[in-house]
């Protein structure tokens, strides 16, 4: 019996790995690859937001603006100084991380909805700076002609080739996040989320970990920004408005807040769903809004909770759902004191 599950598991993972590896050859056209590339970027954003909101309980609603900071850092370093993608990616992560630390500072003083409006406000400030500092950022016109990367002389100039960079970054991002959560940092994050006062009383340096949560999530946003800038070769401030934060938050919650697999599921489904909903034109966002409300009202834990519920009620063990001992680590209970 146990052998059977192992075989099923191996087959499933092997199949998934094959599809992931050869996706650009399976896809029917370049546009499909582009959508999956964007989904990969959204997964990275969602992982960052999940870490800050789902695990550390910190409202980082400046995520879209921080994404913009990363994209502009990479875009400007490339167009002004001619630096390649490989330098811009870490640079964007560092710059976004630093700005993220500033955005996170108010979390030491205000909580819950007050923190929400403060981070929304700081995100707006960042966006307004991007629009108005025309000499530096090109204003509302944005930055164009960003060069696509080059891998030891091999030009990565199509969506199909760029796909592999995104795949590697997403996998790395996922593994790093999982490692962070297993580490004592992750335990401190959850302690702060579940009970801030108690964590403090137990000797957790809450201020340090709160800021750290913001820095890490901002660094993820920075990486997503650098990828976005080099993939699309054109960026403008309107992409990074508050609505982008909402989109990332929606996918994180549809997937499952406080679950890494949820970020992957949400980050993949929403951009694809959006493409399919284009058929119904004007009704697209109405359907989108109604589905968000249904998820929130009936399955607040997202898709991941749905699989968990099905397993509990029918005693089915889905190969991808966590083992009982892992489950404790990935509780969906996201309480804000």
């Amino acid at each position: 019996m146990r052998k059977k599950t192992i075989i099923i598991r191996a087959l499933l993972f092997g199949g998934a790995a094959l599809i992931l590896l050869f996706f650009p050859y399976i896809a029917q056209n370049r546009y499909q690859v582009h959508i999956i590339n964007m989904a990969g970027i959204y997964i990275i954003l969602s992982l960052g937001l999940n870490l800050a909101m789902g695990y550390a309980g910190q409202f980082n609603l400046a995520m879209g603006a921080l994404w913009g900071v990363g994209a502009y850092t990479a875009g400007l370093l490339n167009t002004r100084l001619g630096l390649p993608f490989w330098i811009n990616l870490p640079a964007a992560m560092i710059v976004a991380g630093l700005i993220g630390a500033i955005v996170g500072l108010p979390s030491l003083k205000v909580r819950s909805h007050y923190l929400a409006i403060v981070t929304i406000g700081l995100g707006e400030v960042i966006n307004i700076i991007l629009i108005n500092e025309e000499k530096l950022t090109g204003g509302a016109l944005g930055v164009s002609r960003i060069k696509m990367p080059n891998f030891f002389g091999f030009p990565i100039n199509t969506d199909e080739r760029f796909y592999y960079i995104i795949l590697v970054v997403v996998i790395l991002g996922f593994l790093v996040t999982r490692q962070i959560l297993k580490h004592h940092i992750g335990r401190s994050f959850r302690a702060i989320r579940d009970d801030y006062q108690a964590a403090k009383a137990m000797g957790v340096n809450t201020a340090y970990y709160q800021i750290l949560a913001f820095i890490i999530s901002a660094a993820y946003a920075g990486a997503a920004g650098a990828l976005f800038a080099h993939l699309n070769t054109y960026i403008s401030p309107d992409i990074f408005e508050f609505k982008s934060t909402l989109f990332v938050m929606t996918m994180t919650m549809v997937g499952g807040m406080g679950s890494l697999a949820g970020s992957v599921v949400g980050g993949l489904t929403l951009p694809i769903l959006q493409e399919y909903l284009r058929v119904i034109k004007d009704w697209q966002l109405v359907v989108y809004g109604i589905s968000i409300m249904i998820v929130v009202l009936f399955v607040p834990g997202g898709v991941i909770e749905l699989t968990r519920r099905m397993r509990n009620s029918r005693k089915i063990h889905w190969p991808w759902s966590p083992k009982p001992e892992e489950e404790k680590l990935e509780e969906t209970n996201v309480s804000e004191n």
Partner: protein, 297 residues
């Protein structure tokens, strides 16, 4: 034109737009106080309210051209009714965590915004003011008549609300049910009906704000997003849940916006206003008139 009169003129403009924010902030604060719900669909409710009133005035429905005050009353009442209906959707949402509330109400906002696009079209229209368009001159200070109307009617509505809540039996019942749901229902107050009434008043005030400001701003289905966010910032600035706080927060936000537009930089207006909110919350985390809550383990 000397600097003082320009300053006073800017100040009046700020108070005008501030009254609009204050009426929106009241909706956030009252609903938060009575249901514990942060309603991010309030900006969309404001937009719907504006349409529900203005369509009668501009003759979009059956070519009817009713007078402005009548259209105003129809809009406020219809939007109040919408608030009562929305109470059913908000009731389960109010029991969830802030994050879920946020997303659920934003989802509702999406639905309202895009239904408005489908019904009224994405492009907006300018509304003719019922009062003369020429600014009137009071001791060298030029003011738009519509702006004065906005300030005066908003002030009347705010005073009326305060009187209603503190003197009438229904108002007292509303305050009681906001204070403690269980005890209020033990005393025989229908808590859910009181919540519905609160939502009706909040939505009605939003419609009033929208219809009064319609001749000054441009009416379109996307108008709710920015005003909704600013109204929420104003409610937080004053102290979420407090009625005088919402009014103070709205006026402060409007005046800061107007002064920074007039004297500092017009392109950084929104940024400066939000930055002021951040600074105020850093200095006084519970808002201008909010009570400090001590967290317990």
């Amino acid at each position: 034109m000397n600097t003082t009169s320009i300053f006073i003129q800017t100040l009046i403009g700020g108070i005008g737009i501030g009254s609009l924010y204050a009426l929106i902030a009241l909706g956030y604060s009252m609903v938060y106080r009575s249901m514990g719900l942060v309603n991010f669909a309030h900006g969309s409710i404001y937009m719907v309210g504006t349409y529900l009133g203005i369509i009668w005035y501009t003759g979009l429905v059956l070519g009817l051209h009713v007078s402005y005050p009548v259209a105003f009353i129809i809009g406020v009442l219809l939007n109040g009714l919408l608030g009562v209906l929305l109470e059913r959707i908000f009731r389960p949402l109010a029991k969830l965590d802030l994050m879920f509330m946020l997303l659920g109400t934003i989802g509702l906002g999406f639905v309202l915004d895009n239904l408005a696009v489908i019904i009224f079209g994405a492009e907006g229209f300018a509304v003719r003011s019922p009062l003369p368009n020429a600014p009137i001159n009071i001791a060298g200070i030029l003011v738009l008549p519509q702006m004065l109307l906005l300030i005066c009617v908003s002030a009347l509505l705010m005073v009326g609300l305060q009187v209603f809540l503190s003197t009438t039996k229904t108002g007292k019942a509303m305050r009681a049910s906001a204070m403690d749901h269980d005890i209020a229902s033990a005393m025989g107050i229908p808590v859910n009906r009181m919540n519905a009434l609160t939502l009706a008043i909040g939505s009605g005030l939003a419609a009033a704000a929208g219809i009064l400001a319609a001749p000054i701003v441009y009416v379109n289905p996307a108008m709710g997003a920015a005003v909704g966010l600013k109204g929420f910032a104003a409610a937080i600035l004053g102290g979420l849940g407090s009625i005088p706080g919402a009014i103070a927060g709205g006026l402060v936000f409007g005046v800061v916006e107007a002064i920074s537009a007039g004297f500092i930089s017009s392109s950084y207006t929104k940024g400066i206003a939000f930055f002021v909110v951040v600074i105020v919350l850093m200095l006084k985390p519970s808002g201008i008139v909010g009570e400090t809550v001590i967290e317990k383990v």
